[in-house]
Structure formats: C-alpha cells, structure tokens
Amino acid sequence: MAILELTGVSKSFSRNVGAKSQTGKIEVLRDINLSIRENEFVCVVGRSGSGKTTLISLIAGLIEPDAGAIVLEGKPIEGPGPDRGVIFQNYSLLPWLSVFENVYLAVDAVAPNLSDREKRRRTESYINLVNLGAAMKKVPRELSGGMRQRVAVARGLAMDPKVLLLDEPFSALDALTRGTLQEELARIWTETRKTVVMITNDIDEAILLADTIYTLTPAPAATLGPAIIVDAVHPRARMQLSGLSSRQKARRETLSNLTSGMAAKVADTAAVFH
C-alpha cells in the first residue's frame, strides 16, 4: 500500500545564462518512479548537483513536474501543503520569530480551531521532543546551526504531515553535531514512525536512518537506481551498525549504484577509505 507514489516524473529547467550563453532546456530529472509505503523511511542518495533538491521540491509541490504524476494517498498533489511538511537544508526559520513562535506558526496553520492553550501545549511538546525546551524564547540568530536545524525538525513535525520531507537537513553542520542530530532523528522517528523521504549525500547517514535507499544517478537527466533495503531494527546506533553485515551490503550496493557512469572514479576513491 503506497502512501506516496511518483510515476514517470520528469523536470527540465530552461537555461539562458551561462558562459557560452547557451539557451535551451536542461533536463534535471528523467522518468522518476518511486513508491513509498506508510511509515517507511526512504533516503535518496546522490551527489551535489544531481537534482536532489529538485526532487524534494517536486514532492513538496513547490515546483511542478513537466511530465508524470505525484500521488499522495490516491490523490494527485496540488501545490504545496502541510501534509508534506518540508525541513529545508538552510533551516528557513523566520528570523523575526522566536523558537516558540516559529513552531507555533506551524501548529496554528494545521490546527487553527484548537484552543490557544492546546496549541501552546502542542508547540511546547514538539520543542521538547527536539530537546530545545530551554531555548523556547530565543530567536534563530541566537542559536547554533545544530539548534536551528532542531527547530526546523520540530516545525516539520508540528505540521503533522502525512509525509515528512527532509532536504539534506544536516549537510551544513559540523561532523559531531551531524552525528548527534542523526541519532536524535533516529530516536524521534522510532517514536513517531512518520513516513519520511530524506535527501542526502551521506551514505552512512542513509544507512543509519533508512529502511530503503535509492540512489540518484548523476545529472543531467538523473533517475533513480533500484531500491536497496536496509534490514536492521530501529533505532540504530552508529557503533552497532558498523558490525552489521546488512549494513555492509547496503553500503556496497549504494556505492556501486553511485559509481555507475562518470562518478566511478570518485566512488572508487571513497571505497578505499571505507
């Protein structure tokens, strides 16, 4: 039973600026097919410039596909909406609102008829879920990158979406903060079991979190590789994972999918390190 289904989705952008002032269209995504079950955690792995953000924007409804269909719970999506809550790469918190107000805005948007007291209670519970109870009244400028992304996660969850979309949520963070947040996301996901589509360029991140991993072939005209199932219980801890044979298998498959085409050389180098 798929909750979210993409069939034959393609997207091109017209380009008229460039060194040689080339005009014409550049095909970013070609024939994307993706079927996501309820409560599934899906990661799409691809290198920078492979159209990852385009894919998430399409699912979010922020841009429209040239061809193909995106269907959520049997209905074609129409524009953006909180049923597909997005956690953006650059956090996109509103700098003039406090942590509380940023999350409250989402609670208020999806459940306007609740009493103010109930809305406040929900807002606080989402903020506590990401361990930011002490920073409730702070504004984003006073927070570190990791804390900002926690607020963004709280806001995403506060939309109570059918599918939560994460666009490289931790790529701008330092390695230590990233690790903490990944494990925290693993914990939160185990508690909430939301359906998640997460875009990332970090294979280990994908293996830590995802049930299913898809690779995106390099641009232009990127498309999805076959599904790779990561068969391990949630929540997974980083240490624990390193001994797991299913992890090694998933990593090898992900890498070999990524290596196809022009990415071969880079991934070979990566394979030496792992």
Binding site: A60, L62, G79, P80, G81, P82, R84, G85, V86, F88, N90, S92, L94, P95, W96, L97, L105, A106, A109, V110, V139, R141, M159
Partner: protein
C-alpha cells in the same frame, strides 16, 4: 573627541574670516551669539506669532514635519508594497514616480496652495509629496528581495494571504522600510524650511525668512544652525530605530 572639536573650531575661524573680510554684512560668530542669545537662553518665550524662543519655533516646525512625515509614510508604504508585489503595477507607475520624484518642494507648494487655498494643508501636501519617495522605493525594494525560502515556508504551511503578509512579508521588509523612513524624515525636514518660508508660517523656516526681510542677519544664522542640529538629531534618532529592526 579632539578631531570633531578641531573641525568645529576651524569652521568658526573660517566663518569669522568671511564675516571680517569677504562679506561684511555677515555677522561674526560672536555677534550672532550676542544678538541671538535671548532666543537660546530663554528658548520658550513667546512675544507674538513671529517672535518666539528657538525651541518654540523648532517645536512648531517639528509638529508640521511630524504631520507631513506621517502622511508621507502612510501613503508611501502601501504604494511601495504594491510596486514591489506587482510587476504590472510597477511597469505602469514607475515612469510616473520617476517623473514626480525630482520635483522640488518649491514647485509643489504653489500647486498645494491652488488646491487647498490655505497655507497649512498646502505645506503638509508638499512635505508628503516630496518626502514619500524614499519610503516608496525602499519598501518596494524590500518586498522584491524577500527570500524565497521564507515565502516557501508560507506556501508549505498554506498561510492565508493576510497571514503571509503579517507573519512573513512585513517583517521581512521592515529593515528596508525603516531605511526608507529615515531618508524620508530627512527629506521632510529639508522641505519644511522651504514650505514655511513660502507660506510665512511660524516655525524655523518662517522665522528665518522674516528675519531676512527685517535685516537681522544673525537670526538667519541662528535658524540655520538650529535646523542643522535638529536635522542631525532626527537622523540619529531614526538610525537607532532602524537598527532595532535589522533582525536578519
């Protein structure tokens, strides 16, 4: 601390030199002080409409500026938002604005007198028309530069247009708006003198013009200095307010 004092001292020396050698009708700093001190030492006295303490005149001018400035931003802010939002509106009205913008207050005032037949509304009309453009242009620029990431948040949350305006567009534009307000206030203060001179209203500009006609030149200098100092203070004040809104 020393350099500004040095600068002011140098200016006083040049002023004295000019009053002694070049333009002997120009009162020296010392004579200016002597002939003006009753206006400064006793800044709130009133002895007829056009003979009042300097702060009393300043107060009358400030009231007029406040009214004109309020009118300017009340008209200019929504106009700026419209220009920023709608490319069509921008195409239609940008040429009009570009033509209206460089018109001097001296040109607007007679027109205001023709329309309103009274000096006070004509003065306000002139201040508003001259002072609103920085607000219009900065607000429009602010609206055009709202980050798509903020707008996307509004789209994902499906906020109503009113709520998007209140929670996203206005806060994102505020820093630009206040830069506009600061420039507009400076412009309003420039215009007030011209408006008062032409309408003969009591205030710093009116006083200046009257004292020119009565050949008391030291009082012209007194007015000029007062206008400069108050303009400087207003700009600083708005600068503080402006900084307060620079959140992002």
């Amino acid at each position: 601390m020393i350099l500004p004092v040095l600068g002011i001292g140098l200016m006083l020396i040049i002023w004295t030199a000019i009053s002694l050698k070049v333009a002997t009708d120009l009162p020296s700093p010392w004579r200016t002080w002597q002939e003006s001190q009753q206006y400064i030492v006793n800044p709130f006295f009133k002895d007829g409409e056009m003979n009042q303490g300097i702060l009393r005149f300043a107060f009358l001018s400030l009231i007029r500026v406040a009214k004109g400035f309020t009118l300017a931003i009340a008209l200019g802010t929504p106009l700026g938002f419209l220009l920023g939002f709608s490319p069509k509106f921008h195409q239609a009205f940008d040429p009009v604005i570009q033509v209206l913008r460089p018109i001097s207050p001296l040109a607007w005032l007679p027109l205001g007198l023709v329309i309103f037949k009274q000096s006070e509304p004509a003065a306000l009309f002139t201040i508003a028309l001259c002072a609103m453009w920085p607000t219009v242009i900065n607000t429009a620029m602010g609206v055009r530069s709202i980050g798509t990431e903020y707008l996307n948040v509004g789209r994902v949350l499906k906020l109503s247009p009113m709520k998007t305006l209140r929670k996203i567009m206005i806060p994102a534009t505020l820093p630009y708006m206040f830069t506009g307000y600061r420039l507009s206030l400076g412009m309003a203060w420039l215009v007030i003198v011209a408006a008062e001179m032409l309408t003969g209203s009591p205030g710093l500009g009116g006083f200046l013009w009257q004292e020119y006609n009565s050949l008391v030149y030291s009082h012209i200098l007194l007015s000029v200095l007062a206008i400069g100092l108050i303009g400087f203070a207003l700009d600083r004040l708005m600068g503080v307010v402006e900084r307060h809104f620079k959140t992002a």
